[in-house]
Symmetry: C2
Subunit: 223 residues, 2 copies
Amino acid sequence: MSDSKSKLFNDQGELVVPKPVVGRLSLYLREVQHLIRGGRETTNSNELGRLLGVTDAQVRKDLAYFGQFGHPGVGYRCQELVAAIKIIMGTNTSWNVALIGIGNLGRALLRYKGFHEQGFQIVAAFDVDDGVIGTKVEGVDVYHIQHLAKIVMQQSIRLVTIAVPSHAAQTVVDQIVEIGIEGILNFAPVTISVPSQVRVIGVDLAMELEQLAFTVVNRDSNS
Amino acid sequence: MSDSKSKLFNDQGELVVPKPVVGRLSLYLREVQHLIRGGRETTNSNELGRLLGVTDAQVRKDLAYFGQFGHPGVGYRCQELVAAIKIIMGTNTSWNVALIGIGNLGRALLRYKGFHEQGFQIVAAFDVDDGVIGTKVEGVDVYHIQHLAKIVMQQSIRLVTIAVPSHAAQTVVDQIVEIGIEGILNFAPVTISVPSQVRVIGVDLAMELEQLAFTVVNRDSNS
DNA sequence: TAGATTGTTAATCGATTAACAATC
DNA sequence: TAGATTGTTAATCGATTAACAATC
């Protein structure tokens, strides 16, 4: 019985993949897509490892958590591998995403083409500023945040990106959570709290520069 | 002799701090700064751990890698701790940063106030488009990238943020490296290669959404 | 002083790597 | 077939946690 289940899950139905694997999976996906654009048909763990700065053993092990995608003696067929990783990541189908906060960063996110290319559509934008509500930015309608619940329902939105001022972030998050959103990409440089069933990823641009400064100041052989 | 050295370094002069610590250090800094804005004088490992979702033991251990910043029976004095972490991160003094690529994202980065608040000044911007070269964006001069070396020298720039199209990224990086830049914050969604003395941190916005999709699809107790 | 909280050690837990039989 | 490369096991390495003496 437990043998018929994917080895992804343990007896409590929890994912048993080491946490760092998920980040690398995205890197593998990006790199193989890049190889495909260059006309490549196959790759292998050695090449992927070299390109991404990990060992070949790690590449094989990471992928093997999810199934058998390789061909001994051949390697990984690029198209096949991309399709497999997309299914694992959940990006084989498209996701509708809402954006909250139409400031500098919010506008840049609306214009950013990279989301669409990976299967994410920003289908609605929200703010509290009457100056932008009712307009379209990059073809996307801007609504007052009070209409969030309605639009989320209509458009089957499961993920929200928030790019609001720090002081407003937690209030906005509380509203989002109330509505039943499943995942939040938070660009506000503050810790937000959510119930355990809601997933959050935070991106703090200043923090990234800070990390960089650290690695430069403490120039070491790690990192 | 080796006792007189900071315990940060081993006999080869390499940093012996676990890699995940650096990321958490930035989180501690942000959180304590937030507490200070709320009027708080002291905090402790238990509180910080609870706010950030790590154990109290981890908070104490992370900080203890770098020195003794706490006061038994009292906790950590907020101002003191912020000052200490800034010294560790190298952000107790200001950094001059160049931005390359004045597209959607580049402009948003120029307008973003969060960098300045953490001690990073974007002091020059670069592009190859004659339409923007010679103008100012947010008070920052835009130069042709051919003047990079000169400006970097004049302004003592050590870090560069690149927000150029993916196909141009590696070429730009090669020029940057040539000039002797020490750290690169890369927003282009491609792997770039640099010599080992140059530090790189990549931020791929679509990849972040991808990670979020994964955690939502595989709703688990990790992550 | 009694209570609170640190810094640090040793034990535990988790992730990575090396090696190799199986496979194409 | 011989050569290449996977998937997987066991060994190694690294990070986290629990516990507690030292300190304020």
